[in-house]
Protein backbone atom coordinates (compact mmCIF):
# COMPACT_ATOMS: atom_id res chain seq x y z
CA UNK A 1 0.00 0.00 0.00
CA UNK A 2 1.40 3.39 -0.86
CA UNK A 3 1.78 6.18 1.60
CA UNK A 4 -0.93 8.47 0.29
CA UNK A 5 -3.67 5.86 0.55
CA UNK A 6 -2.45 5.00 4.04
CA UNK A 7 -2.67 8.66 4.86
CA UNK A 8 -6.25 8.84 3.61
CA UNK A 9 -7.23 5.79 5.57
CA UNK A 10 -5.63 6.78 8.85
CA UNK A 11 -5.73 10.48 9.22
CA UNK A 12 -9.50 11.16 9.19
CA UNK A 13 -9.88 9.39 12.52
CA UNK A 14 -7.43 11.84 14.02
CA UNK A 15 -9.05 14.81 12.35
CA UNK A 16 -12.53 14.21 13.70
CA UNK A 17 -11.77 15.61 17.16
CA UNK A 18 -10.27 18.69 15.58
CA UNK A 19 -13.43 19.15 13.54
CA UNK A 20 -15.14 19.82 16.85
CA UNK A 21 -13.13 23.00 16.79
CA UNK A 22 -15.69 24.21 14.27
CA UNK A 23 -18.24 24.12 17.06
CA UNK A 24 -16.20 26.74 18.86
CA UNK A 25 -17.67 29.49 16.79
CA UNK A 26 -21.02 28.66 18.31
CA UNK A 27 -19.67 28.85 21.86
CA UNK A 28 -17.93 32.20 22.07
CA UNK A 29 -18.00 33.95 25.43
CA UNK A 30 -19.23 37.53 25.39
CA UNK A 31 -16.43 39.95 26.20
CA UNK A 32 -17.19 42.18 29.18
CA UNK A 33 -18.23 45.81 28.55
CA UNK A 34 -15.14 47.97 27.85
CA UNK A 35 -15.90 50.40 30.71
CA UNK A 36 -15.38 47.63 33.30
CA UNK A 37 -11.59 47.73 33.34
CA UNK A 38 -11.00 44.95 35.88
CA UNK A 39 -13.31 42.59 34.01
CA UNK A 40 -11.70 43.36 30.64
CA UNK A 41 -8.21 42.76 32.04
CA UNK A 42 -9.28 39.53 33.72
CA UNK A 43 -10.94 38.39 30.49
CA UNK A 44 -7.75 39.03 28.51
CA UNK A 45 -5.59 37.33 31.12
CA UNK A 46 -7.73 34.20 31.05
CA UNK A 47 -7.17 33.97 27.25
CA UNK A 48 -10.22 31.75 27.05
CA UNK A 49 -12.73 33.27 24.61
CA UNK A 50 -14.35 29.85 24.04
CA UNK A 51 -15.02 29.27 27.71
CA UNK A 52 -18.67 28.16 27.35
CA UNK A 53 -17.67 25.58 24.74
CA UNK A 54 -14.67 24.50 26.80
CA UNK A 55 -16.76 24.06 29.94
CA UNK A 56 -19.22 21.92 27.97
CA UNK A 57 -16.32 19.82 26.65
CA UNK A 58 -14.90 19.38 30.14
CA UNK A 59 -18.31 18.16 31.33
CA UNK A 60 -18.41 15.77 28.40
CA UNK A 61 -14.91 14.48 29.17
CA UNK A 62 -15.72 14.11 32.87
CA UNK A 63 -18.87 12.14 32.05
CA UNK A 64 -16.79 9.89 29.83
CA UNK A 65 -14.22 9.56 32.60
CA UNK A 66 -16.84 8.57 35.17
CA UNK A 67 -18.47 6.10 32.79
CA UNK A 68 -15.37 4.38 31.42
CA UNK A 69 -11.87 5.54 32.30
CA UNK A 70 -12.20 5.90 36.07
CA UNK A 71 -13.88 2.51 36.67
CA UNK A 72 -11.38 0.74 34.41
CA UNK A 73 -8.47 2.51 36.11
CA UNK A 74 -9.78 1.64 39.60
CA UNK A 75 -9.81 -2.02 38.66
CA UNK A 76 -6.37 -1.70 37.05
CA UNK A 77 -4.93 -0.14 40.23
CA UNK A 78 -6.64 -2.78 42.36
CA UNK A 79 -5.74 -5.88 40.35
CA UNK A 80 -2.39 -5.22 38.69
CA UNK A 81 0.66 -5.36 41.00
CA UNK A 82 2.77 -2.20 41.20
CA UNK A 83 5.88 -3.60 39.45
CA UNK A 84 3.71 -4.70 36.53
CA UNK A 85 2.15 -1.23 36.37
CA UNK A 86 5.67 0.15 36.06
CA UNK A 87 6.36 -2.32 33.23
CA UNK A 88 3.22 -1.18 31.42
CA UNK A 89 4.22 2.45 31.85
CA UNK A 90 7.76 1.80 30.62
CA UNK A 91 6.48 -0.14 27.61
CA UNK A 92 4.07 2.63 26.56
CA UNK A 93 6.64 5.34 27.20
CA UNK A 94 9.25 3.49 25.14
CA UNK A 95 6.86 3.49 22.17
CA UNK A 96 7.05 7.29 22.25
CA UNK A 97 10.81 7.08 21.67
CA UNK A 98 10.80 7.86 17.93
CA UNK A 99 8.49 10.86 18.43
CA UNK A 100 10.67 12.23 21.24
CA UNK A 101 13.78 11.70 19.11
CA UNK A 102 12.23 13.51 16.12
CA UNK A 103 11.08 16.47 18.25
CA UNK A 104 14.50 16.76 19.90
CA UNK A 105 15.93 17.06 16.37
CA UNK A 106 13.29 19.62 15.33
CA UNK A 107 14.25 21.69 18.36
CA UNK A 108 17.95 21.47 17.54
CA UNK A 109 18.63 19.62 20.80
CA UNK A 110 21.18 17.18 19.44
CA UNK A 111 22.36 15.91 22.83
CA UNK A 112 18.84 15.13 23.89
CA UNK A 113 18.13 13.51 20.51
CA UNK A 114 21.13 11.24 21.05
CA UNK A 115 19.86 10.36 24.50
CA UNK A 116 16.40 9.58 23.15
CA UNK A 117 17.80 7.36 20.40
CA UNK A 118 20.12 5.54 22.80
CA UNK A 119 17.34 5.00 25.29
CA UNK A 120 14.97 3.65 22.65
CA UNK A 121 17.59 1.26 21.33
CA UNK A 122 18.70 0.04 24.76
CA UNK A 123 15.24 -0.33 26.21
CA UNK A 124 13.78 -2.03 23.14
CA UNK A 125 16.52 -4.67 23.30
CA UNK A 126 18.03 -5.09 26.78
CA UNK A 127 14.85 -3.71 28.30
CA UNK A 128 12.79 -6.41 26.55
CA UNK A 129 10.55 -4.38 24.21
CA UNK A 130 10.70 -1.48 26.63
CA UNK A 131 9.06 -3.06 29.67
CA UNK A 132 12.16 -2.27 31.71
CA UNK A 133 13.75 1.14 31.75
CA UNK A 134 17.20 -0.35 31.45
CA UNK A 135 18.74 2.92 30.25
CA UNK A 136 17.63 4.80 33.38
CA UNK A 137 19.22 2.10 35.52
CA UNK A 138 22.57 2.85 33.94
CA UNK A 139 22.04 6.59 34.36
CA UNK A 140 20.56 7.60 31.00
CA UNK A 141 17.51 9.43 32.28
CA UNK A 142 14.29 9.85 30.38
CA UNK A 143 12.81 13.04 29.02
CA UNK A 144 9.73 13.85 26.99
CA UNK A 145 9.05 16.04 23.99
CA UNK A 146 6.14 16.56 21.64
CA UNK A 147 5.40 18.64 18.58
CA UNK A 148 3.37 21.14 20.61
CA UNK A 149 6.58 21.96 22.48
CA UNK A 150 8.52 22.07 19.22
CA UNK A 151 6.06 24.66 17.86
CA UNK A 152 6.56 26.67 21.04
CA UNK A 153 10.33 26.56 20.53
CA UNK A 154 9.68 27.76 16.97
CA UNK A 155 7.88 30.71 18.57
CA UNK A 156 4.41 29.77 17.40
CA UNK A 157 1.81 31.34 19.75
CA UNK A 158 -0.25 28.87 21.75
CA UNK A 159 -3.56 30.54 20.92
CA UNK A 160 -6.52 30.46 23.31
CA UNK A 161 -7.30 27.66 25.73
CA UNK A 162 -9.13 24.79 24.12
CA UNK A 163 -10.62 21.68 25.68
CA UNK A 164 -10.68 18.89 23.11
CA UNK A 165 -13.17 16.06 23.39
CA UNK A 166 -11.44 12.93 24.77
CA UNK A 167 -7.96 14.53 24.61
CA UNK A 168 -8.78 17.18 27.21
CA UNK A 169 -6.99 20.49 27.92
CA UNK A 170 -5.20 21.83 24.87
CA UNK A 171 -4.71 24.82 22.60
CA UNK A 172 -4.63 25.26 18.82
CA UNK A 173 -0.85 24.85 19.04
CA UNK A 174 -1.03 21.65 21.08
CA UNK A 175 -3.92 20.35 18.96
CA UNK A 176 -1.77 20.68 15.83
CA UNK A 177 1.10 19.14 17.80
CA UNK A 178 -1.03 16.13 18.66
CA UNK A 179 -1.89 15.58 15.01
CA UNK A 180 1.73 16.07 13.90
CA UNK A 181 3.03 13.61 16.52
CA UNK A 182 0.58 11.00 15.24
CA UNK A 183 1.90 11.52 11.71
CA UNK A 184 5.56 11.49 12.79
CA UNK A 185 5.12 8.31 14.80
CA UNK A 186 6.31 5.30 12.75
CA UNK A 187 4.00 3.05 14.77
CA UNK A 188 1.03 4.90 13.25
CA UNK A 189 2.08 3.57 9.86
CA UNK A 190 3.47 0.18 10.82
CA UNK A 191 0.77 -1.23 13.05
CA UNK A 192 -2.86 -2.28 12.59
CA UNK A 193 -5.81 -0.27 13.86
CA UNK A 194 -6.55 -2.64 16.77
CA UNK A 195 -3.05 -2.12 18.09
CA UNK A 196 -3.34 1.65 17.84
CA UNK A 197 -6.68 1.69 19.66
CA UNK A 198 -5.24 -0.58 22.34
CA UNK A 199 -2.20 1.63 22.73
CA UNK A 200 -4.28 4.81 23.03
CA UNK A 201 -6.55 3.26 25.61
CA UNK A 202 -3.63 1.79 27.51
CA UNK A 203 -1.90 5.17 27.55
CA UNK A 204 -5.06 6.82 28.87
CA UNK A 205 -5.41 4.24 31.68
CA UNK A 206 -1.71 4.50 32.57
CA UNK A 207 -1.89 8.29 32.75
CA UNK A 208 -5.13 8.23 34.74
CA UNK A 209 -3.68 5.66 37.14
CA UNK A 210 -0.59 7.74 37.78
CA UNK A 211 -2.69 10.80 38.59
CA UNK A 212 -5.57 9.04 40.29
CA UNK A 213 -5.32 10.61 43.74
CA UNK A 214 -4.38 14.06 42.46
CA UNK A 215 -7.43 14.27 40.19
CA UNK A 216 -9.78 13.13 42.94
CA UNK A 217 -8.16 15.60 45.29
CA UNK A 218 -8.52 18.48 42.85
CA UNK A 219 -12.16 17.69 42.11
CA UNK A 220 -12.92 17.64 45.79
CA UNK A 221 -10.91 20.66 46.91
CA UNK A 222 -11.30 23.20 44.13
CA UNK A 223 -13.81 26.02 44.08
CA UNK A 224 -13.88 25.93 40.31
CA UNK A 225 -12.45 22.71 38.89
CA UNK A 226 -12.51 24.07 35.34
CA UNK A 227 -10.27 27.07 36.00
CA UNK A 228 -7.96 25.08 38.29
CA UNK A 229 -7.38 22.58 35.46
CA UNK A 230 -6.85 25.41 32.99
CA UNK A 231 -4.20 26.99 35.21
CA UNK A 232 -2.44 23.68 35.91
CA UNK A 233 -2.41 22.75 32.24
CA UNK A 234 -0.86 26.05 31.20
CA UNK A 235 1.79 26.04 33.91
CA UNK A 236 2.68 22.43 33.20
CA UNK A 237 3.08 23.12 29.49
CA UNK A 238 5.27 26.14 30.20
CA UNK A 239 7.43 23.99 32.45
CA UNK A 240 7.68 21.27 29.79
CA UNK A 241 8.61 23.77 27.08
CA UNK A 242 11.42 25.07 29.31
CA UNK A 243 12.44 21.44 29.95
CA UNK A 244 12.05 22.02 33.65
CA UNK A 245 14.35 25.05 33.81
CA UNK A 246 13.42 27.81 36.22
CA UNK A 247 11.16 30.49 34.79
CA UNK A 248 12.85 33.78 34.02
CA UNK A 249 9.90 36.01 34.76
CA UNK A 250 7.11 34.43 36.66
CA UNK A 251 5.02 36.84 38.69
CA UNK A 252 4.68 35.27 42.10
CA UNK A 253 4.13 36.79 45.51
CA UNK A 254 7.22 38.38 46.95
CA UNK A 255 8.99 38.48 43.61
CA UNK A 256 9.03 41.29 41.13
CA UNK A 257 11.23 39.88 38.44
CA UNK A 258 11.63 36.20 39.25
CA UNK A 259 14.92 34.46 38.84
CA UNK A 260 17.55 35.94 36.56
CA UNK A 261 18.91 34.01 33.63
CA UNK A 262 22.28 32.37 33.78
CA UNK A 263 24.32 29.51 35.02
CA UNK A 264 21.71 28.28 37.41
CA UNK A 265 18.95 28.01 34.82
CA UNK A 266 21.24 26.13 32.45
CA UNK A 267 22.07 23.60 35.08
CA UNK A 268 18.41 23.09 35.67
CA UNK A 269 17.65 22.44 32.02
CA UNK A 270 20.02 19.50 32.12
CA UNK A 271 18.05 17.95 34.94
CA UNK A 272 15.79 15.40 33.40
CA UNK A 273 12.17 16.45 33.65
CA UNK A 274 10.36 13.82 35.63
CA UNK A 275 7.39 11.98 34.34
CA UNK A 276 3.89 13.29 34.77
Amino acid sequence: MNVSSKFKRRVPGTLIPLAFAGLLLAGCAAAPPPEDKEAVAAFKEANDPYEPFNRAMLDFNLALDKAILRPVTSVYLEVVPDPLQTNVHNFLQNLRGPVIFANDLFQGELDRAGTALLRFTMNSTFGILGINDFAAEVGIEKHDEDFGQTLAIWEVESGPYLVLPIFGPSSPRDGVGLLADTLIDPFTWLTPLEYRIGRSFGTAVDKRARNFDQINDLEKNSLDFYSAVRSLYRQKRRDEIRNGALPTNNPVPGSLSGVPDGKFGDQQSKVTPTER
Partner: protein, 201 residues
Protein backbone atom coordinates in the same frame (compact mmCIF):
# COMPACT_ATOMS: atom_id res chain seq x y z
CA UNK B 1 54.18 42.80 33.98
CA UNK B 2 52.49 44.59 36.80
CA UNK B 3 49.72 45.61 34.48
CA UNK B 4 49.00 42.07 33.40
CA UNK B 5 48.88 40.87 37.03
CA UNK B 6 46.34 43.54 37.69
CA UNK B 7 44.34 42.28 34.77
CA UNK B 8 44.44 38.73 36.08
CA UNK B 9 43.35 39.96 39.49
CA UNK B 10 40.58 41.94 37.85
CA UNK B 11 39.46 38.92 35.91
CA UNK B 12 39.42 36.80 39.05
CA UNK B 13 37.47 39.46 40.89
CA UNK B 14 34.97 39.55 38.05
CA UNK B 15 34.59 35.79 38.03
CA UNK B 16 34.08 35.77 41.79
CA UNK B 17 31.50 38.55 41.47
CA UNK B 18 29.58 36.85 38.70
CA UNK B 19 29.76 33.24 39.78
CA UNK B 20 30.50 33.48 43.47
CA UNK B 21 27.48 35.60 44.26
CA UNK B 22 24.58 33.13 44.01
CA UNK B 23 25.02 31.41 47.36
CA UNK B 24 25.59 34.19 49.82
CA UNK B 25 24.53 34.35 53.43
CA UNK B 26 20.88 35.19 52.76
CA UNK B 27 20.34 32.22 50.47
CA UNK B 28 22.13 29.92 52.91
CA UNK B 29 19.89 31.16 55.70
CA UNK B 30 16.80 30.57 53.58
CA UNK B 31 18.13 27.13 52.75
CA UNK B 32 18.54 26.30 56.42
CA UNK B 33 15.08 27.64 57.15
CA UNK B 34 13.52 25.39 54.49
CA UNK B 35 15.52 22.41 55.74
CA UNK B 36 14.33 22.99 59.30
CA UNK B 37 10.74 23.60 58.26
CA UNK B 38 10.73 20.52 56.03
CA UNK B 39 12.18 18.27 58.70
CA UNK B 40 9.75 19.64 61.25
CA UNK B 41 6.82 19.09 58.92
CA UNK B 42 7.91 15.52 58.22
CA UNK B 43 8.43 14.77 61.89
CA UNK B 44 5.17 16.25 63.06
CA UNK B 45 2.83 15.26 60.21
CA UNK B 46 4.13 11.78 59.45
CA UNK B 47 3.43 10.56 62.97
CA UNK B 48 1.12 7.61 62.68
CA UNK B 49 -2.04 7.21 64.66
CA UNK B 50 -2.72 10.90 65.27
CA UNK B 51 -6.31 12.05 64.82
CA UNK B 52 -7.54 14.18 61.92
CA UNK B 53 -8.13 17.07 64.32
CA UNK B 54 -4.59 16.82 65.71
CA UNK B 55 -3.08 16.63 62.22
CA UNK B 56 -5.05 19.68 61.14
CA UNK B 57 -3.93 21.56 64.25
CA UNK B 58 -0.27 20.76 63.61
CA UNK B 59 -0.57 21.72 59.95
CA UNK B 60 -2.18 25.04 60.90
CA UNK B 61 0.68 25.83 63.29
CA UNK B 62 3.32 25.05 60.67
CA UNK B 63 1.45 27.06 58.07
CA UNK B 64 1.15 30.15 60.25
CA UNK B 65 4.74 29.93 61.39
CA UNK B 66 6.42 29.33 58.04
CA UNK B 67 4.21 31.00 55.44
CA UNK B 68 3.55 34.65 54.72
CA UNK B 69 -0.19 34.06 54.55
CA UNK B 70 -1.37 37.69 54.26
CA UNK B 71 0.99 38.24 51.32
CA UNK B 72 -0.08 35.03 49.59
CA UNK B 73 -3.73 35.86 50.21
CA UNK B 74 -3.22 39.28 48.66
CA UNK B 75 -1.49 37.79 45.63
CA UNK B 76 -4.19 35.18 45.07
CA UNK B 77 -6.85 37.87 44.80
CA UNK B 78 -4.97 39.21 41.78
CA UNK B 79 -6.19 42.49 40.37
CA UNK B 80 -9.28 42.33 42.56
CA UNK B 81 -7.30 43.08 45.74
CA UNK B 82 -7.41 46.75 44.82
CA UNK B 83 -11.18 46.85 44.46
CA UNK B 84 -11.96 44.81 47.59
CA UNK B 85 -13.22 46.73 50.63
CA UNK B 86 -11.32 46.50 53.94
CA UNK B 87 -14.04 44.34 55.46
CA UNK B 88 -13.87 42.01 52.46
CA UNK B 89 -10.08 41.82 52.69
CA UNK B 90 -10.21 40.87 56.37
CA UNK B 91 -12.81 38.18 55.88
CA UNK B 92 -11.07 36.91 52.76
CA UNK B 93 -7.70 36.45 54.52
CA UNK B 94 -9.36 34.41 57.27
CA UNK B 95 -11.30 32.26 54.81
CA UNK B 96 -8.22 31.81 52.64
CA UNK B 97 -6.29 30.24 55.53
CA UNK B 98 -9.19 27.94 56.35
CA UNK B 99 -9.46 26.94 52.72
CA UNK B 100 -5.74 26.16 52.45
CA UNK B 101 -5.77 24.09 55.63
CA UNK B 102 -8.76 22.14 54.42
CA UNK B 103 -7.35 21.54 50.94
CA UNK B 104 -3.75 20.74 51.86
CA UNK B 105 -3.78 18.88 55.18
CA UNK B 106 -4.75 15.61 53.51
CA UNK B 107 -1.82 15.87 51.13
CA UNK B 108 0.54 15.43 54.07
CA UNK B 109 -1.11 12.30 55.37
CA UNK B 110 1.09 9.75 53.71
CA UNK B 111 4.69 10.78 54.26
CA UNK B 112 6.03 7.43 55.43
CA UNK B 113 8.97 6.15 53.39
CA UNK B 114 9.41 9.53 51.72
CA UNK B 115 12.54 11.63 52.12
CA UNK B 116 13.00 15.37 51.93
CA UNK B 117 16.24 16.79 50.51
CA UNK B 118 17.35 20.39 50.10
CA UNK B 119 19.33 20.58 46.85
CA UNK B 120 20.51 24.17 46.44
CA UNK B 121 19.41 27.74 46.72
CA UNK B 122 19.78 31.06 45.03
CA UNK B 123 19.20 34.71 45.84
CA UNK B 124 16.54 36.39 43.80
CA UNK B 125 17.13 39.76 45.46
CA UNK B 126 18.57 41.03 48.73
CA UNK B 127 15.55 39.77 50.67
CA UNK B 128 14.30 36.97 48.46
CA UNK B 129 15.66 33.53 47.79
CA UNK B 130 14.63 30.43 45.93
CA UNK B 131 15.31 27.07 47.56
CA UNK B 132 15.30 23.91 45.45
CA UNK B 133 14.30 20.68 47.12
CA UNK B 134 13.03 17.27 46.20
CA UNK B 135 10.91 14.60 47.80
CA UNK B 136 12.18 11.11 47.15
CA UNK B 137 9.58 8.36 47.03
CA UNK B 138 10.71 4.73 46.77
CA UNK B 139 10.37 3.32 43.21
CA UNK B 140 9.08 6.58 41.80
CA UNK B 141 10.64 9.63 40.19
CA UNK B 142 11.56 12.29 42.75
CA UNK B 143 9.23 15.28 42.99
CA UNK B 144 10.90 18.66 42.48
CA UNK B 145 9.66 21.28 44.91
CA UNK B 146 10.93 24.86 44.84
CA UNK B 147 10.25 27.35 47.62
CA UNK B 148 10.21 31.11 47.41
CA UNK B 149 11.40 32.60 50.65
CA UNK B 150 11.26 36.21 51.81
CA UNK B 151 13.62 37.23 54.58
CA UNK B 152 13.35 40.23 56.84
CA UNK B 153 15.24 40.89 60.10
CA UNK B 154 16.48 37.27 60.23
CA UNK B 155 12.92 36.05 59.89
CA UNK B 156 12.03 33.88 56.93
CA UNK B 157 8.63 33.33 55.40
CA UNK B 158 7.57 31.19 52.45
CA UNK B 159 5.70 33.09 49.76
CA UNK B 160 5.22 30.36 47.17
CA UNK B 161 5.63 26.63 46.63
CA UNK B 162 6.28 25.29 43.14
CA UNK B 163 5.69 21.60 42.56
CA UNK B 164 7.19 20.33 39.30
CA UNK B 165 7.16 23.87 37.94
CA UNK B 166 3.58 24.53 38.98
CA UNK B 167 3.12 27.41 41.39
CA UNK B 168 0.49 26.86 44.07
CA UNK B 169 -0.05 30.61 44.42
CA UNK B 170 -0.57 31.12 40.69
CA UNK B 171 -2.96 28.17 40.49
CA UNK B 172 -4.97 29.49 43.41
CA UNK B 173 -5.02 33.01 41.99
CA UNK B 174 -6.21 31.83 38.57
CA UNK B 175 -8.99 29.84 40.21
CA UNK B 176 -10.10 32.65 42.55
CA UNK B 177 -10.03 35.31 39.83
CA UNK B 178 -12.15 33.03 37.65
CA UNK B 179 -14.70 32.61 40.45
CA UNK B 180 -14.86 36.38 40.90
CA UNK B 181 -15.36 36.87 37.17
CA UNK B 182 -18.21 34.40 37.13
CA UNK B 183 -19.95 36.13 40.00
CA UNK B 184 -20.04 39.45 38.16
CA UNK B 185 -16.62 40.74 39.18
CA UNK B 186 -17.54 40.91 42.86
CA UNK B 187 -15.09 39.81 45.56
CA UNK B 188 -18.20 39.12 47.65
CA UNK B 189 -18.97 36.26 45.24
CA UNK B 190 -15.64 34.57 46.01
CA UNK B 191 -16.09 35.11 49.75
CA UNK B 192 -19.49 33.45 49.57
CA UNK B 193 -18.04 30.48 47.68
CA UNK B 194 -15.15 30.17 50.17
CA UNK B 195 -17.56 30.33 53.11
CA UNK B 196 -19.59 27.53 51.62
CA UNK B 197 -16.54 25.40 50.81
CA UNK B 198 -14.90 25.77 54.22
CA UNK B 199 -18.06 24.99 56.16
CA UNK B 200 -18.99 21.92 54.12
CA UNK B 201 -16.56 19.45 55.67
Amino acid sequence: MLRSSFMVLGAIALIVLVYGAPVNAAARDAEGFIRDTGNKAFASLSEEGISKVERTKRFKELLEEAFDLPRIARFTLGRYWRVATDTEKREYIGLFEKFIIQAYTKRFQDLSGKKFHVLQSRDVSATRALVLTEIVIPNQPAIKINWRVRSKDDKHKITDVMVEGISMSVTQRDEFVSVIRQTGGKVAGLIKALRKKTSSN
